[in-house]
Every structure is written in C-alpha cells, then in structure tokens.
Subunit: 340 residues, 2 copies
C-alpha cells in the first residue's frame, strides 16, 4: 500500500509521467496550452494514480493571487441569529474565493483571544467580528497594530478604526416602545442584560426614552445574566413570582432567546400568552415565527452578506474611506401581543 506519511509531491508526479515538474505545474495550473493533448493525458493520469494534491502552503509562497481566508467571530453559534449571520457571510464569500474560519466564543474570552491568535498566525486576511468587543479590547488593538482589517457588527461606538455595520437601535427601541404602549396590559416590565454592549444600551435607552415621551410608566426592570434561553427562564421565573398576583403583565425582552426563556417561565406559572402576559422580543430569530412571538426584525442574513462585502472591499483597497452602514429594522406583530 501507500507509505504512511510522505505526501506525494509534484516531483513524484513528474517522474511518473516522465516529464519535468514545470510541465506538471503548468498543466495543472491551466497554463499548458502549448503542450499536446498526449502530455496532458499522461500528467492527469499520473496525478490520478498517485492521488496528488498540490501542497497549499508551498503554492502560496509563490502565488500572487491567493484564495482569501476570513476569520469570523460570533458569541454563540447555537443562537440562530448568529447561525444566520454566518450563512450570509458564507453566502457572499463563497463566490468571492474565500474560506471562513468560524469561532464561537461562548462567553470565554480567554479562549477567544487564543483562537484569534491562532488565526492571526494562520495569516488570516481579515476578520468579521460579531462578538461584543470594546474598541479598546486588546484583540482589536492587536488587529490594528498588525494592520489586519476587520468589520465590526452591531457595536455603535468605541471603535473608530474598522468598517462597521450597525442596526438602527434607536428606531428599534422606538418601535418597541410604541408597540408596548399600544398593547399595554397591566404593569410594563423590561428584561435587559446585566452586561450591556453599546448597541444594546442604545436599544434600551431608546425604549425608555420613547416610553417616557408617551408618559407610559415602567413598573420594573429586571437584569438577566446573559442573552440566553436559560438566563431568560431564570429571570422569567423571578418575574412570575414577584408579580404572582397581577392578572396581567406586559414584558419586553431584549432578545428573542431571552423571550423564549420567559415563555417557559410563564407556562410553568400556568399563565397564558397573550391572555395574561403580553410578550415581545427582539431579533426575529427563525424561531420567533414558530413561537408566535412579536419582535423586531433585524435583516441578519443581509447583514452577514454586507459585512463580507465590506471586508472584501477593504482588502481590495486598504485606504478607502471607513464605511459605517446602518440597517433599518421593522416591527413584526404576532400573537404574543395580540388582543384576544
């Protein structure tokens, strides 16, 4: 059988085909027009027989136009929001001759740092970062120092260097507030994360401001430990306990995943949505439609595609003016806030 380790090289192919390595290289790179069909055939045959694949690294040392490599950093790939973001990115890059290393940081910052370091060592051409990072984050500082371009998603401040795609959080917050005011039933409760990234902070501030403008009172604001279902369920249980005697409640959760946890808590408290509790989320995750959850739609697949496009443009022209794209959001009404 075949040797255990030694990969077959272009030399082996050349020897087997009875030609020089140049001939093999040229033909395999579609620059062998001058060689007769017979030579092509011999070479192809030898390649097939030996199962030869050119060494990627060796090729790259000489090649001028290389296939690009992109690093993608998301906080949680299990969250369908980020899964769809990734789809959008892959969608675009697929046609653009680039491959993506995906890193799901899962709240582990040390891991994220180390992974990033690895990807940098891999000569990754650029990054798309959806994990919340402060502009002063050592990771971003490092990227800037190394002049590795990156596109930041959903972080409205703190970084003045990278291209960005942000969502109109002010508009989103206003839509939330207006809808809460319209469907309001019993006390209004907001569920927000303890740690607030810039964009989430803006979102919440906009909700508060618009409710205040409409003179609608907020009964309570609960802090949840993470933007995850389990954290939402915990907070939801607390709410149902604290407001056990209230026949009606109106709750807004900062993200659909959190709302999903609250749905569970409401059910466990043997209350009904929307009869007893009107619930609203944010993101319009794949699941919102199936859970009948009123929410704010973010065009996440599009955002992924545009982020990839932004990065690609930046790679092509490192000195083009910095771009910040703002995407609008829309309200999606579903039964979780309906009247009956």
């Amino acid at each position: 059988m075949s040797q255990l380790n030694k990969k077959t090289t272009i030399k082996d192919v050349a020897a087997k085909a009875g030609v020089s390595v140049t001939t093999v290289s040229q033909i395999l790179n579609h620059k062998g027009a001058r060689f007769p069909a017979a030579t092509h055939k011999q070479v192809r045959q030898a390649v097939a027989d030996l199962g030869y694949v050119a060494n990627f690294s060796a090729r790259n040392t000489r090649l001028t136009v290389r296939r690009r490599t992109i690093g993608v950093l998301v906080p949680q790939i299990q969250n369908p929001f980020f899964a769809n973001l990734f789809r959008g990115i892959q969608d675009y890059l697929y046609d653009q001759a680039a491959d993506t290393f995906l890193v799901s940081t899962d709240g582990d910052n040390v891991k994220a740092q180390q992974y990033m370091k690895q990807l940098i060592h891999r000569s990754v051409d650029g990054f798309i970062i959806a994990s919340q990072l402060d502009g002063q984050d050592p990771l971003l500082k490092k990227l800037r120092r190394l002049r590795i371009p990156y596109v930041l998603l959903d972080q409205n401040e703190g970084d003045q260097a990278g291209d960005q795609i942000i969502v109109n959080e002010r508009q989103g917050g206003q839509l939330v507030a207006a809808h809460l005011a319209a469907v309001k039933q019993g006390p209004i409760i907001l569920v927000v994360p303890r740690q607030q990234s810039a964009n989430i902070h803006l979102r919440i501030a906009a909700v508060k401001a618009e409710l205040a403008r409409r003179q609608v009172e907020i009964a309570a604001i609960y802090q949840t430990s993470a933007l995850e279902k389990s954290a939402g369920a915990l907070t939801g249980r607390q709410i149902m306990q604290d407001f056990a005697t209230a026949p009606h409640l109106t709750i807004w959760a900062v993200a659909d995943e959190v709302a999903l946890g609250i749905i569970k808590a409401v059910r466990q408290a043997r209350k009904q949505i929307p009869e007893n509790v009107k619930l609203m989320g944010y993101d319009d995750t794949d699941y919102a439609d199936y859970l009948n959850l009123t929410t704010i739609h973010q065009p996440v697949v599009t955002i992924g595609r545009e982020a990839a496009a932004l990065l690609q443009a930046r790679l092509a022209d490192p000195v083009r003016p910095r771009q910040v794209i703002v995407k609008p959001v829309t309200l999606v009404r579903r039964d979780s806030t309906s009247d009956d």
Copy 2:
C-alpha cells in the same frame, strides 16, 4: 504610512534589529536560548514596531509539526442540532491545535462539492461530515482516493472506509414507539422525510416494527419535504386539515425542527397540545425543553467531541483499525405528551 501591499517579512525584522534572519527565526520560535536577553529585546522590539507576523504558508513549507486543519460539513448550521455538534467539535479541537473550516451545505449539493474541492486544495488534513452522503458519493470517493481521512456521522451504511459515529436508531425507534403506545390518544400519525438517509430510515423502521409488535395501528404516514421548520408547518397544516374532525391525535415527527412546524400548525388550527394533540419529536434540540416537547435525546455535543477525537486518532495513526462508535439515546418526557 505603511506601504499598501508589501507585507513585512522576516528580513525586514532582521534588518531593523540589526541581526540575521536566523537569529530572528530562532528567537521567535523559542529556540533562542543561546542569545542574550539584549538580542531578544531588540528582535521583539523590531517585531512590535513593524507589526510582523510570520507568513503562515512559508513557515509550513519547512515545519514538521503543523497545526492541523479540519473541514466540517453540516447540512444546516441554523439547525441547533448541528450548531451544537460544531461546538463539540471545536471544543475538542481547540485543545488539540487544530482549526476548523465550517461549511453549511444548505441542501445545495453543487455548492458542497465545490467547497469541498476548495478545502482539499487547502491541504485540509481531514473531514468531519454530518451532511448525509451516500457511500458512493463522488465526494467520499475522492477523499478515499486522496487518502484524506474523514469521520462520518449518523450514516449507518454505504460506507465501509471512514470511521463513524452512529446513534442507536433502533433503540431510539423503540423508545418512540413505546412512548407513543403509552400516551396514545386518537389516531397515530407519523411524519417522515421524503428523502430518507440510512439512519433516518432505520429510525422509522424501528418505530414501525415496535408499534406492530405492540399491535398499535398507524393511522397515517405523512411525508415532509425537508427536516426544517417550514416543511413541518406545511405538513402539519395538511394533517390538521385531513383530521379536522378528530378530537384527538397523536403525532410523531422525525425531528424536533419538523415538530416545531407542527406546533405552529396545531396552534393555527386552534387546537391544544397536549389536550387535543400529543406530539413527540426527535433530537432534543436546545429548543425542545423550552417548547415542552417530548423527544429522544441524542448526546450531540459529545458526538461532536468524539468525532473530533476519532479524526485526530486517525490522523495520528492512519492504519489503525476502523472505528465505529454507537451512542445510546434516551427518552425525554415533557408536557407535549403529558396526560392533562
């Protein structure tokens, strides 16, 4: 400012530090014990000043132990089942000095083929394949020809070459049937995919066999076009229409995502789960718990980790005997099949 294109090389660093490239290389690769601290400092300083990162490809041409690269193929990263699988894989590989290219094939076989081709050209060391592929699939044939190792997930036959992790579908099917028999209320309906991969086929066959053994009748079997929420909803609507007059139904869906679509259809038909419809899924996706869906638990994160371990072992020893690991499943009872 810095030049537009030219990356800084080890030569630039050497020049700036006033030493030879050898010295730089040695120090940067932690083989510079013999150099005095002063030299180290100069080199590090030059590296920092220039923002130097060693060219990955150039390094790799000489390096003996390289960081590994793994390709991961999943049908749909938005499905939390596969997102968690990926987490398991990344979890394990992270410590094992390997990085993963993720490809979500999204039912596009042409795209999958082309992506694979790219990854092969990238000298990917091995693949973990969760996309359903026939053993005769050209993709697998190619991998075998090129002697690139791969681990197949969840495909019980058709391939005798790669290591595999499979789930005990027979056991799963029996658990489903036993539970259906126990909670049965009205006609029993199965929802299965039109295209059945080997493992899904086994699962369904086991359900049928066990129901037959228990002399429990299946009222109808519906075929759904894909293992997706939207397909499930479509089929669910059809069921609710066909059985509009039945006060009670018992439905098993081949996957949680499909069950989720059915939940929506049931709700739209203004029926209640579990009062009117007892519903059961398969997979125990993150969402099943939040939707109160009775289902069969597959230890997916573990499967991901073990798949990665299997591949790593194979890379370390290409001639070790072929491994096939069978994982057990468990029934998870929730309210969607409860009594009241």
